[in-house]
Every structure is written in structure tokens, then in C-alpha cells.
């Protein structure tokens, strides 16, 4: 289980995250919503060690990983799919996947398991990732994240730039990964409706603060919150 307690992050004089607390349970999806600049990406970057926390704790199964290196955090079982897919376009599809499995050695999932999950990647395995479409790149980045059998999956805007049909497909896939692999998923999204359709819990951020943390049904019923922070 991933637990964030009173987390704050500064970029110079700007406080991007302020006293944020939330929990991501195994087998569940916690959606993090909010407008641009709300601190969603910073939250994921701080959890995965890319940004340094100025206060607060990040606990993975009770162990404090707040000031651990990025590499160590990944090895401890947190996979982060950054905004813009994060595939390495100069490498082939197979090399991208292999890269994600190296730190786990024999404990990594077999490559075929990923190809079974994403059949579209099989034909492309020997091609540079630069030739993939947006949807295929997203599949590759998620495949590369889960090949290392993480316990927590941080997903930053997986729907960005995708057609609505693909967005639904990706969200369905995320739901299925949480259910079948028991992953704790922290899903950052601009596309609030899509995220709420698969989430078990929704955290709304505004200017670095948590302004709501509740089940999606309750949030959907709260017209004031929806209008103020989610724009629908």
C-alpha cells in the first residue's frame, strides 16, 4: 500500500504541493484530478523521487521512501509512467520492454506476457518506438512499467493526445491491471470523466492542496465541487 502523509514540494519559492495526504490500496485506482498547475504531476514526481519533498512522508508498505533515490524507489516496486508516454523513441519496442525488466532480473514478467496483453505490439517488436502511434506508445509505456511486476503504478495523463475510443480502451486496461495484478494505481488525469469512470476513489487537487478525497459517486453528486474544480 502507498501512503502519502503531509507531502509538500517546492520549486524555488513556489509551493507546488502543500500538505497532501492520500492512500492508494492494492487492487484499487485512486484518481488525482484538478486543473493545470494543481500539482498533480508534481505529486507523482515527488512520490517517484524525481522531485524532492520539502516536508511529509511517502510510505510504501510502511517503509519510508521519501528521500530514497529514484532508482531505489523503482526497485522497491513503484513504476512511474510519465506524462507524454515516456517511451524511448530511439530504442525498439522490444528494447524498451527489456529496459523495464532489467532491474528485476528473473523476477520480471516474461516478455510474452506483455505481448499477450498488448497484441498490437507484437508486430512492432523490432521497430523503433518512434514509429508507434500515440495509443501504441501508451501501451508500450504501460507494458514497460508492469513488466517489472511493480506493486504501485503511477500513471500521468495516459489519455493525453489519444482519440476518445483509445482513451476508453486505456482506462479499461488500467482497471483490469488493478483488478488482475492487484496493483495500487495512482491515476493523474485531466480527463475527469474518464478517470472517474474507473476510479475507486478520487482526490481533487487545487493549487497544491487536497480539496476533496471521496468515492467518485459522491464527487459526481457534488455539483459545487464538480463545477469549481473539474469543469463539468
Amino acid at each position: 500500500m502507498l501512503k502519502v502523509e503531509g507531502l509538500s514540494t517546492n520549486y524555488g519559492a513556489v509551493r507546488a504541493l502543500d500538505d497532501v495526504s492520500l492512500t492508494a490500496e492494492p487492487g484499487s485506482i485512486t484518481a488525482v484530478l484538478g486543473a493545470n498547475g494543481a500539482g498533480k504531476t508534481t505529486l507523482l514526481r515527488t512520490i517517484s523521487g524525481l522531485a524532492r519533498a520539502s516536508a511529509g512522508l511517502v510510505l510504501l508498505d510502511g517503509n519510508d521512501i521519501t528521500r530514497t533515490s529514484v532508482e531505489q524507489i523503482v526497485r522497491s516496486g513503484i513504476a512511474h509512467v510519465p506524462e507524454g508516454h515516456g517511451v524511448i523513441t530511439e530504442l525498439t519496442v522490444e528494447e524498451n520492454l527489456r529496459l523495464g525488466s532489467l532491474h528485476r532480473g528473473r523476477a520480471a514478467a516474461p516478455m510474452q506476457e506483455i505481448y499477450d496483453l498488448f497484441p498490437a505490439l507484437v508486430e512492432r517488436r523490432g521497430q523503433p518506438a518512434s514509429r508507434l502511434s500515440g495509443g501504441e506508445r501508451q501501451m508500450l509505456s504501460i507494458g514497460r512499467a508492469i513488466i517489472g511486476r511493480p506493486r504501485v503504478l503511477l500513471l500521468d495523463e495516459p489519455s493525453l493526445g489519444l482519440a476518445p475510443r483509445l482513451v476508453a480502451q486505456i482506462m479499461g486496461l488500467v482497471r483490469s491491471l488493478a483488478d488482475t495484478l492487484g496493483l495500487a494505481v495512482l491515476l493523474v488525469e485531466q480527463n475527469a470523466r474518464s478517470a472517474m469512470s474507473v476510479a475507486d476513489r478520487v482526490v481533487v487537487l487545487d493549487l497544491g492542496h487536497v480539496v476533496a478525497d471521496q468515492p467518485p459517486q459522491e464527487l459526481a453528486a457534488d455539483e459545487r465541487l464538480r463545477h469549481a474544480y473539474l469543469g463539468f
Binding site: P82, G86, I88, L91, G100, L102, P128, S130
Partner: protein, 292 residues
């Protein structure tokens, strides 16, 4: 016709040395976006160390091995101690630091070994092969030079294309942050990249020293030629560095043979200017989405 064959063979041999220096520059550029202007001085130091070992033991092979090991160590130390603190600083800082390191190493070499150039032994005979009663400008030592550089290029290709650490090094060079998110220890790989680059430089120093002699400033022209070769090849591409080195070696050999050796430095600069004007990305440009 005999002259042309001679100049061509000579061009391949000197081009192989340029290729080794270009490889050293390209490996560092790919990983850290720094042009290592101290590369010539670093390879000068390793060649001096090899010279001392050869003088003391009488073994060229032992001196060669010590040069390679000292190259690896110097490259790693330079990255950890001098380059890492300025890793995220503006690019000009790295240029100034590299030039400072160059000056420091030249001064240290002068203090230890003196400024007078000294001879350096070759691995094999420098007497050209006798082919059909004609002596050509290509000797057993040139064969050694070409084979060593080919072995280095193939070794690097095998490392980058065929091993896990090579895959991680490529990932770290292309997208360091994404590589870190895959558990890759990027800073360690940068150190390894500098060590490998200095190894290539040390090899180039050993190969070129018999013909330029060993002195604190005697390797400066080889750095310039290596830089031109690297730019010609695309600066990002190890195969491009090898091909760029060979092409430059041929061009400069023809210029030297037909027009005189005094024009060689000018010809190198003309090649550099022409490449930058006509094809600034070199013969083997990196992918458009490349970044470090």
C-alpha cells in the same frame, strides 16, 4: 597510380587513429552533451604513463595495457570529480572546465616529464610492405593500427547492441530521466561512458605517438582532427565517428601527398567548415527526438 595507392593506405591508417579520437569525443557527447576539449591532454597523460612503463619493463604490451587501464581510471575520476558537479550547469561551464583541465594536464606533464618531445616505440615495424618489388607506404604497424581500431569499434558495437549494460547506456544517453524511472543508475553509466571514452583516447595516443612523438602539446592536432571526424560523422553516432575518421584520414592524406603536408591543418579546417555549411548534422545525424 602508386602514389595514389600509397596515399590511400596511409589515409586509412591515420584515419583509424582519427576515428579512435572521434569515438572518444562522441561517447562523451552522447552521454553528457559535453565536448571534451581535454581529451587530447588526457590521452597525452596515458601515453606518458605507457612510455614510463615501457622504459621500465621493456614490454610494449605491458605498457599498452597500463595505458588502457590508466585511461579508464582517468576518465572515471574526471567525470566523478570534475564533471559531475557541473552536470546541470549551463553548457559554457563545461567548456571552461574542460579547457581548464586541458591546461592543468599540460602543465603537470611539463613539470613531470619536461617539454622536450621524445620518441615513442611502435608496436610493429614501420617499414612498409614490399609488394611486387615496390615498397608501399603501409607497414605492419599500420595493419596493427587498423586492426586495433576495428576491434575497438566492433567491441563498442557489441557492448551497445548486445548487452544489458549497453542498452542501459543508450537509454541513459537518449532520455536520462526515463532511464532512471526504469531503475537504471544513470550517473554510474555516465562515469562508465567517460571511462570508455578515455580508453578510446588512450588507444589513440598509443597508436599515434610513434609518428608525432611524445610531448605535452604534441597531441593537440590529433584532437582537432578527431573533432572534425566526429562532426563529419554526426557527433552522435559511433559508427559515424569511425567512418568520419576514415574519410578525413583519406582526404588529409591526399592533400598531404599531392599538395604538401603544410596544408593539412588548413584542409582539416576547410572540411569542418564545409560540413557545418552543407550538412551541419553530419553524415549520420541523430534522430530528431534525441535529447540529453
Amino acid at each position: 597510380m602508386t602514389n595514389f595507392i600509397d596515399y590511400t593506405l596511409n589515409g586509412i591508417s591515420t584515419g583509424a587513429i582519427y576515428a579512435a579520437v572521434a569515438l572518444a569525443l562522441v561517447l562523451i557527447w552522447r552521454a553528457t552533451r559535453i565536448i571534451n576539449f581535454a581529451q587530447g591532454a588526457m590521452l597525452m597523460i596515458t601515453t606518458y604513463i605507457a612510455s614510463a612503463v615501457i622504459s621500465a619493463t621493456g614490454s610494449y604490451i605491458f605498457g599498452f595495457v597500463v595505458a588502457l587501464v590508466s585511461g579508464l581510471l582517468i576518465g572515471a575520476v574526471v567525470e566523478r570529480v570534475i564533471i559531475r558537479p557541473i552536470e546541470n550547469a549551463p553548457p559554457l561551464n563545461a567548456v571552461i572546465v574542460a579547457l581548464g583541465l586541458y591546461s592543468l594536464l599540460i602543465a603537470v606533464a611539463g613539470m613531470i616529464w619536461g617539454a622536450t618531445p621524445r620518441s615513442f616505440p611502435s608496436a610493429f615495424s614501420i617499414r612498409g610492405y614490399d609488394i611486387g618489388g615496390t615498397r608501399v607506404l603501409f607497414a605492419p604497424n599500420d595493419t596493427f593500427i587498423v586492426l586495433v581500431v576495428v576491434a575497438v569499434a566492433l567491441g563498442l558495437a557489441a557492448l551497445f547492441r548486445g548487452t544489458a549494460i549497453g542498452l542501459q547506456m543508450r537509454a541513459a544517453a537518449f532520455k536520462p530521466e526515463i532511464a532512471r524511472l526504469q531503475g537504471v543508475r544513470v550517473s554510474r553509466l555516465f562515469t562508465l561512458g567517460w571511462a570508455l571514452a578515455a580508453l578510446c583516447g588512450a588507444i589513440a595516443g598509443m597508436l599515434v605517438a610513434p609518428s608525432v612523438f611524445l610531448g605535452p602539446n604534441n597531441f593537440d592536432p590529433i584532437l582537432i582532427s578527431g573533432f572534425v571526424a566526429a562532426v563529419l560523422g554526426g557527433l552522435d553516432s559511433p559508427p559515424g565517428a569511425v567512418i568520419g575518421g576514415l574519410l578525413l584520414g583519406l582526404v588529409l592524406s591526399y592533400v598531404s601527398g599531392y599538395e604538401g603536408s603544410a596544408l593539412v591543418p588548413l584542409a582539416a579546417l576547410i572540411v569542418l567548415v564545409l560540413v557545418l555549411m552543407i550538412r551541419p548534422t553530419g553524415l549520420f545525424p541523430a534522430a530528431a527526438e534525441r535529447r540529453v
